[in-house]
């Protein structure tokens, strides 16, 4: 008989694991250092931290190394590690005007108080392959750094904080007023409470900020392109370091525990209030690290899900929030690799029944095939 019942799986699994480990080590180059990944592939590290929802650059770099650069897999490892850590408490709400900004732009106004700060962006670089990088030496890197330091002398440092562009619109009553912060309920914790619908805004924002970048982009793009009617204007996009405060367990006072690098997007779109007055409304996006695509896509979806009447998938809160998690969707997609022969057998039985084929005939069919 050609079939061998799947046994001895233990050995097969172990050998497959060794073969996988071999793939990453088979080349002749030196092993990658975690520091190299953290410093030179920092955007991949940021993406993994965001999708894992754990701000831990060293561990994210380790996950990327272990996953051979697969960001979905790396985010999965980091998320699984996160799940083992005890929940010690929650940070205090942080006003993002306190962000130490390294980049901020507005597409709404030519000039904004504090000025447009381009910062480190690839927006206006030509995407030409730089063949010099093929043989980049430590010496070249050093020369570049020295040159940069010399040129930067005498420049004025950036102010520590900047005013918010959208606050200007709010002052003129062009933007729908901010919901009453004091009256807002405490944020839910989606890692401690399963999502139910309709989800609160805090649950929706949490789900999106740990969503998979490509998933968010796809849904947001569908809305921008025409399956939806958000015509977003980027009110302000910021990149910078946001202080994190917790309440000190002894004194009860806010205590600064560190900074996290975040990207924040505030998207403005027009809508007509029930009373007929046109207003601007805000879509909000914030994610760990430098990931502008994700922050803008999140802001567009946040705004899209506020639609009064759902007309497209991106406006349907349940549709959006149920399908953007990379770890869940990836796991379910790949689980189809598992054997399904019991269910398939059950389906076969139904199909044959519907076609009027008896079990005896199935046996006959096999015999004829042999002949």
């Amino acid at each position: 008989m050609g079939y061998v019942a799947v046994k001895g799986g233990q050995t097969a699994i172990e050998q497959a694991g060794r073969l996988l480990a071999y793939q990453r080590r088979r080349g002749t180059s030196r092993p990658l250092e975690i520091r190299q990944i953290k410093e030179q592939l920092y955007l991949a590290v940021d993406r993994v931290m965001g999708e894992a929802s754990l701000y831990a650059p060293d561990l994210a770099a380790l996950a990327l190394k272990q996953a051979a650069g697969d960001t979905l897999e790396a985010a999965f490892m980091l998320r699984a590690y996160r799940a083992t850590q005890p929940r010690l408490g929650y940070s205090l709400p942080q006003d993002t005007t306190a962000m130490r900004v390294i980049r901020r732009i507005s597409a709404a106004f030519k000039d904004i108080p504090g000025g447009q700060i381009l910062g480190p962006t690839s927006d206006y670089t030509l995407r030409l392959l730089d063949f010099d990088l093929q043989a980049e030496s430590a010496r070249q890197v050093q020369d570049f750094l020295q040159e940069l330091a010399a040129a930067a002398g005498g420049q004025e440092p950036l102010p520590l904080t900047f005013p918010k562009v959208i606050d200007l619109l709010r002052q003129e009553h062009l933007l729908a007023p901010r919901p009453d912060v004091a009256a807002a309920t405490a944020p839910v914790d989606i890692t401690r409470q399963a999502l139910t619908f309709p989800a609160s805004r805090s649950a929706a924002l949490q789900t999106m900020t740990r969503g998979e970048t490509g998933g968010l982009l796809l849904l947001a793009y569908s809305n921008m392109r025409g399956y939806g009617d958000i015509h977003p204007t980027v009110g302000e996009l910021r990149l910078g370091y946001l202080p994190v405060h917790i309440r000190h367990p002894r004194t009860g006072l806010p205590y600064h525990v560190g900074d996290v690098k975040v990207t924040e997007a505030e998207v403005i779109a027009r809508f007509t209030a029930p009373d007929g007055t046109p207003r601007f409304t805000l879509g909000y996006g914030l994610c760990f690290g430098h990931n502008e695509v994700k922050a803008i896509a999140m802001a567009v979806l946040d705004r899209a899900m506020q639609a009064e009447e759902v007309k497209s998938p991106s406006e349907d809160q349940e549709f959006v929030l149920s399908h953007i998690d990379g770890i869940e969707s990836m796991g379910f997609c790949t689980h189809y690799k598992l054997p399904h022969y019991v269910t398939f057998q059950s389906d076969l039985d139904r199909l044959r029944q519907a076609q009027g084929v008896s079990p005896e005939k199935v046996k006959e069919a096999g015999k004829r095939h042999v002949a």
Partner: protein, 297 residues
């Protein structure tokens, strides 16, 4: 006292130092146990739970695994099966993981096990009141076939509004002359909730009715768990004139042990294309084979 500490006093320290006994932290275990109690109190009702990420991918049994990890104690004897088979790669992987983080004894013998985690099958041997069967669930919502929205299906359950499901079954009969659902056949639990029994074959659905054993169902990705307590009425949805029917293996027998009363896997021989059948429950098949060999001697 943490189980880990208890284990140390018992001189059993096989848990990897970095992780808690049974991997999950005690808070997570307590939450799952509370939710299990709720599920047992409301048979067939889907209880939302937080569902932690595990080092096993979502969709690969993380719901069942979390129930197992929340319930398992150091004196349990664990059996893990996938499609009826203890030796299937995913069953091996899950068993190894639980063993690594708990150090419990494992078995392939259905009778020996106190806790059984399974995917897509219920063992052929009747289970006892001393055992718990944990089923892995991909789609906890039986109504998903007729209604994609969770908000809407929860309303339908709340109101006991199952008209769409009945209509679906009726239309199926109109189209195919019979209800064409293979595995994952919807059942009515305790006369109240329509429930997805997980993708077990219809063959196993009848084993859910008024059973001796506690059945627990866990869907990790969808973050839902539910239960069928012992002696609960579980009825497959059927019409008076179109009855629920299990898979038809008339005239077939297991090629290996000769059984004529088990759920069979259909195999296609590589060389000849001929169809043969063997028991899906490999442990049961081994036992029947041993018995036959003894009788032959």
């Amino acid at each position: 006292m943490l189980l880990r500490e208890w284990l140390q006093t018992q001189g059993r320290t096989r848990t990897p130092a970095a992780y808690n006994f049974a991997f999950l932290d005690e808070g997570a275990k307590r939450e799952i146990r509370r939710k299990i109690l709720k599920a047992v109190a409301i048979p067939g009702y889907q209880v939302p739970f937080a569902s932690r990420e595990l080092p096993i991918a979502r969709g690969w049994g993380t719901g069942g695994l979390q129930l197992t990890l929340a319930l398992i104690g150091p004196n349990d004897v664990l059996k893990v099966i996938d499609q009826g088979c203890d030796g299937s790669v995913n069953a091996v992987n899950l068993r190894k993981f639980v063993q690594q983080v708990t150090g419990v004894a494992v078995t392939m013998d259905t009778r020996e096990a106190t806790l059984i985690q399974t995917r897509h099958r219920i063992p052929e041997e009747p289970l006892t009141a001393e055992q718990i069967l944990v089923l892995q669930v991909p789609y906890p919502e039986a109504l998903r076939t007729v209604e994609p929205s969770e908000l809407e299906t929860r309303r339908m359950h709340g109101e006991g509004d199952y008209s769409q499901m009945w209509l679906y079954l009726f239309e199926d009969i109109v189209k195919y002359g019979e209800i064409s659902i293979g595995a994952r056949y919807p059942v009515l639990v305790n006369g109240r909730y329509v429930m997805d029994p997980s993708p077990i074959p219809r063959w196993d659905v009848v084993k859910l009715n008024r059973a001796e054993t506690l059945y627990l169902f866990g869907a990790g990705r969808e973050k839902r768990l539910y239960a069928i307590p012992p002696h609960t009425r579980v009825e497959p949805l059927e019409f008076e004139d179109v009855r629920f029917r299990v898979e038809d293996f008339r005239g077939q027998a297991c090629q290996r042990c000769g059984s004529r009363h088990t759920f069979l896997d259909e195999l296609i021989d590589d060389a000849t294309g001929r169809r043969t059948y063997i028991c899906s429950d490999t442990n049961y098949c081994d036992k029947m084979l041993a018995r036959r060999q003894q009788e032959d001697r």
